[in-house]
């Protein structure tokens, strides 16, 4: 994407009026998006975005210039302007004795069949298969939308510290929404699968299964009763994925919130912040998971970061900047949506590790409660840890058994309180995928958890 000579020259210009370090981030992203709606391919989009971001760091501040003019002259102008934005220019022009060292990276997500090599008709065919399976599932299925996306992102990081690191990330996603109608009642069910993998993803993730699952969830919703409102014992099934850990503790462990004491977890390193049954890691090195990659967007290799171990707070998620400010090692969590954004500490694959209780025993232990099988989206207020997330599949529990399905249940609680109150942890583990938003930037993530029991949680429903 850029020669080493040009990269050296641009970094040199950026640092010509002072500054501690500078870094170039190049990106070229090709994406194909197909949407089959009501059996018709009604949106087909594909294209190329490319650009560069140049950061200049001076103490605790970052100056960042970015754009998509990639010729040498434009880059030099960008670097020149950036160097002039230093408010207190200290040194005169200094020469940068820079030899790049290619950073060796472990390949985390091998790609067998690059989606760019797959003909368009095969991609469309996948969506028709998903659509057919969803419609065939039940006569009450009235609408199906099937969505396909592949994104290939080539990135290169060149830093004044000698960093030279690059990789190509391949994301692939299938998403199906089914609408079921019964009389006047219309309900939606969705199923999403996504990984960092090539087109071989579909050898395991059959479009038929994705379509049928979306249909099952929609049908379940039309037969479900409105959720009750009040406080209940809640069992979160491993099938629910990890929205809870993502919202209830993941965001609060991002080091930029910690650094400014804006998180409920700030200043609690080494302290008990969760039940002794709870261990939380964020692991960017798990092969092919949606939040995995070989390096982060600052060229740091990804790692498995232990955040909470047996209830004790052990560490945080770092970008290069927060690691430097807090005088610790980067964890490979400096991520950005694109060249147009500054890197921030972000989650990758956030996991509550399994415990020892068989999941059936957890269900059997609850006399009256709510069993959550699938979670939808959520949101957290990092300062207080207060979170909300909704359930797309949930049941009442009576006498240790699943009873009727309920709909429109929202779980409302406080992250640190919920994590401390967990009193049973299952021996199973289930994954979910999503796109996490923070400061206007979306990044691909996954999360996972075993079956968990929370003794008391507010359920926001309509039935009283």
């Amino acid at each position: 994407m850029i020669s080493r000579e040009l990269a050296r020259e641009i970094l040199q210009i950026a640092l010509s009026r002072g500054g501690d370090s500078a870094q170039l981030f190049f990106e070229r992203t090709r994406s194909t998006t197909l949407r089959l709606d009501g059996g018709r391919l009604d949106e087909a989009a594909a294209g190329v975005d490319q650009g560069v971001g140049l950061s200049l760091i001076e103490g605790g501040r970052t100056m960042y210039a970015n754009g998509n003019k990639l010729d040498g002259d434009s880059l030099a102008r960008m670097a020149e302007r950036l160097s002039r934005s230093l408010t207190s220019s200290s040194e005169g022009p200094r020469s940068l004795d820079l030899s790049f060292k290619e950073r060796p990276l472990r390949l985390v997500s091998p790609i067998l069949v690059p989606p760019a090599t797959v003909p368009m008709e095969r991609k469309v065919e996948l969506l028709r298969r998903a659509d057919g399976a969803a419609r065939a599932a039940d006569s009450r299925v009235s609408q199906v939308t099937a969505f396909y996306r592949d994104t290939g992102q080539e990135v290169l990081v060149a830093g004044s510290d000698g960093t030279w690191a690059s990789e190509t990330r391949q994301y692939i996603t299938i998403f199906v929404t089914a609408v079921a109608r019964q009389g006047d009642d219309i309900r939606t069910g969705s199923e999403s699968r996504s990984e960092t993998r090539g087109f071989e993803f579909f050898d395991v993730n059959l479009p038929e299964d994705v379509g049928a699952e979306a249909a099952r969830l929609a049908i379940l919703q039309v037969s479900a009763k409105p959720a009750p409102a009040g406080t209940f014992t809640v069992v979160l099934s491993s099938k629910a994925g990890g929205t809870m850990v993502h919202e209830a503790c993941g965001h609060g462990l991002e080091a930029d919130f910690i650094e400014k004491s804006l998180s409920a977890y700030a200043g609690k390193l080494g302290q008990q912040v969760a039940s002794p049954l709870v261990t939380v890691v964020d692991d960017g090195t798990l092969p092919n998971l949606r939040g995995s990659s070989s390096m982060d967007d600052e060229g740091a290799p990804t790692t498995r970061a232990v955040l909470i171990e047996k209830g004790i707070l052990k560490g945080f998620l770092h970008s290069g900047r927060t690691a430097r400010m807090m005088d610790t090692a980067p964890t490979g969590h400096g991520r950005r949506e694109s060249y147009g954004h500054l890197p921030l500490p972000r989650m990758r694959n956030t996991i509550i590790l399994p415990g020892e209780t068989p999941p059936e025993a957890i269900l059997a232990s609850v006399k009256d409660g709510v069993f959550v099988c699938r979670m939808g989206g959520g949101e957290v207020d990092v300062a207080t840890g207060n979170f909300v997330f909704n359930c797309s599949e949930a049941y009442m529990i009576r006498d240790g058994r699943l009873a009727e399905p309920i709909r429109d249940a929202t779980l409302i609680g406080n992250g640190p309180e919920v994590l401390s109150s967990i009193d049973m942890v299952g021996s199973d583990l289930g994954y979910g995928v999503g796109t996490c938003g923070k400061e206007g930037q979306g990044v691909p993530v996954a999360d996972a958890q075993p079956t968990l029991r929370i003794p008391r949680l507010t359920v926001g429903g309509v039935a009283t």
Binding site: E43, A44, A45, Y64, N66, A227, G230, N386, G460
Partner: protein, 453 residues
């Protein structure tokens, strides 16, 4: 933008259109976005981040006998544009034909164009902009001693140009400018932390009021200190203008004609029927002075206008793109927008707002009696536009005999958006425009399910 850059844009648009003309399809449309962003964030008076951005890109749609293909590129070289045309042709070949996929004709509007551009924004000294971010922070800290931390005080401006042209002879372009400032602060009392956020915007730099933004964020954080939950019950709610605006924005997909066509709107088939309280008049206005999304044309080059969606509680119509207006035989509304050059045009509102009913905020509070004043909601993105069901987390203050009483948090409000529209009993005169589009007034809702402990 310099004259040279403007000429470069014209040439990129013309080259893209020329490439579309010669590729053997019936029609084409090129959309060009070119903008520059300046933003600075401060904390403790010190600059944390200073960012500049210059982005240019083209979105291209090809049309042929009801088929359409969309592509985009940030590579505006001749080769980059030729590659883009090839991609769009491949996608077009696989798309399912539909007669209504056509280019819009050039239309005109009698409504004056909104003022959305001030060339001076680009010439304001960066030091002035940094000072604005600092003043927001100082105002927040000075407002209350319990404001102890500032997450980010940020100033951002965007200056740019949008151009769209098609092979039927339509050609529209307009410049725009916006300045924004926002802040998130924490208030602290004993060991309790609460956060408050506020943001505002303007077309011109001098119109931005940094002091107000800082004070308002502080007020919102401090107000939440000491919050407890409330009993599960049904209650009258008074929505803060910000909450009312974001709630409206979240239910707007039910008003998008494409969702209606696909049977994915809770409002489908209800035109002419009562869908909201008799005091409810809902408008979308693309030429409203002061709206963040106000613009003379949409992303297909269709003139924007004021569209009556609900009048006296009766559903009147929907928001349209060229495609949906042709499919439904409805008048165009100029509501096809793009998030960036990378998105095809999609239906979204300009400024969606409830017409004030001529009631002051105080009267609405008095009418609520013993209710809850809602200042924040969480989980808006989980509202289902098809069933209309919602279940949100919320915080605010209890209302006792028409007056604000004590802070509440971790409560749930749930129901169906049609019932919610039906429950609207009054819309205050304090209409406020939101950054990112939308507008809201203090709004009274009667008898809503609230869950707590």
């Amino acid at each position: 933008m310099t004259n040279r850059e403007a000429r470069e844009n014209d040439s990129s648009l013309d080259r893209a259109l020329a490439a579309a003309r010669t590729c053997g399809v019936a029609g084409g449309e090129a959309f060009l976005e070119d903008h520059s962003v300046f933003s600075v964030s401060v904390s403790g008076g010190k600059i944390e981040n200073l960012e500049t951005q210059d982005v240019r890109g083209v979105g291209l749609r090809l049309f042929d006998h009801g088929r359409v293909g969309f592509t985009y590129t940030a590579d505006l070289s001749d080769q980059g544009l030729r590659d883009a045309v090839d991609i769009a042709r491949t996608l077009l070949a696989h798309s399912d034909p539909d007669d209504a996929h056509r280019l819009p004709e050039t239309d005109f509007s009698d409504t004056p164009e909104p003022e959305i551009y001030d060339p001076l924004v680009a010439r304001v000294d960066p030091q002035e902009k940094i000072r604005a971010a600092r003043r927001v922070e100082e105002a927040a800290r000075a407002a209350d001693s319990r404001v102890t931390r500032v997450r980010q005080s940020k100033y951002t401006d965007v200056v740019g140009r949008v151009e769209v042209a098609n092979t039927s002879g339509l050609r529209r372009s307009f410049p725009f400018s916006r300045v924004y400032a926002s802040i998130e602060v924490n208030a602290e009392q004993r060991s309790e932390l609460q956060s408050g956020w506020y943001s505002d915007f303007a077309v011109r730099f001098p119109s931005l009021d940094p002091m107000h933004i800082g004070r308002e964020a502080a007020r919102r954080a401090v107000q939440k200190l000491g919050a407890t939950s409330t009993a599960t019950r049904r209650a009258n709610l008074v929505l803060d203008p910000i909450v009312a605006a974001s709630l409206l924005e979240s239910i707007s997909p039910a008003l998008h004609a494409d969702n209606v066509l696909k049977g994915k709107s809770v409002l489908a088939g209800r035109v002419g029927r009562q869908v909201a309280g008799p005091k409810v008049t809902l408008l979308d206005d693309g030429r409203l002075q002061g709206g963040d999304h106000s613009a003379p044309y949409d992303a297909e080059g269709v003139a924007t206008r004021c569209t009556m969606l609900i009048e006296g509680g009766v559903l009147k119509g929907f928001l349209h793109s060229t495609y949906t207006s042709l499919r439904m035989g409805a008048a165009p509304t100029g509501n096809a927008f793009r998030q960036s050059f990378k998105s095809p045009p999609r239906i979204s509102p300009s400024t969606l707002y409830l017409q004030p009913t001529g009631t002051a905020r105080e009267s609405l509070m008095a009418e609520a009696g013993d209710g809850i004043y809602i200042t924040e909601v969480r989980g808006l993105h989980t509202i289902d536009p098809i069933s209309g069901d919602y279940s949100l987390g919320a915080s605010g203050m209890t209302i006792k005999s028409g007056r604000l009483d004590a802070p509440v948090d971790r409560i749930g409000i749930a129901g169906n958006v049609v019932d919610l529209l039906m429950s609207i009993a009054g819309v205050g005169s304090d209409l406020r425009f939101m950054p990112g589009g939308g507008a809201g007034s203090t709004t009274l809702l009667m008898d809503i399910a609230v869950s707590g402990t």
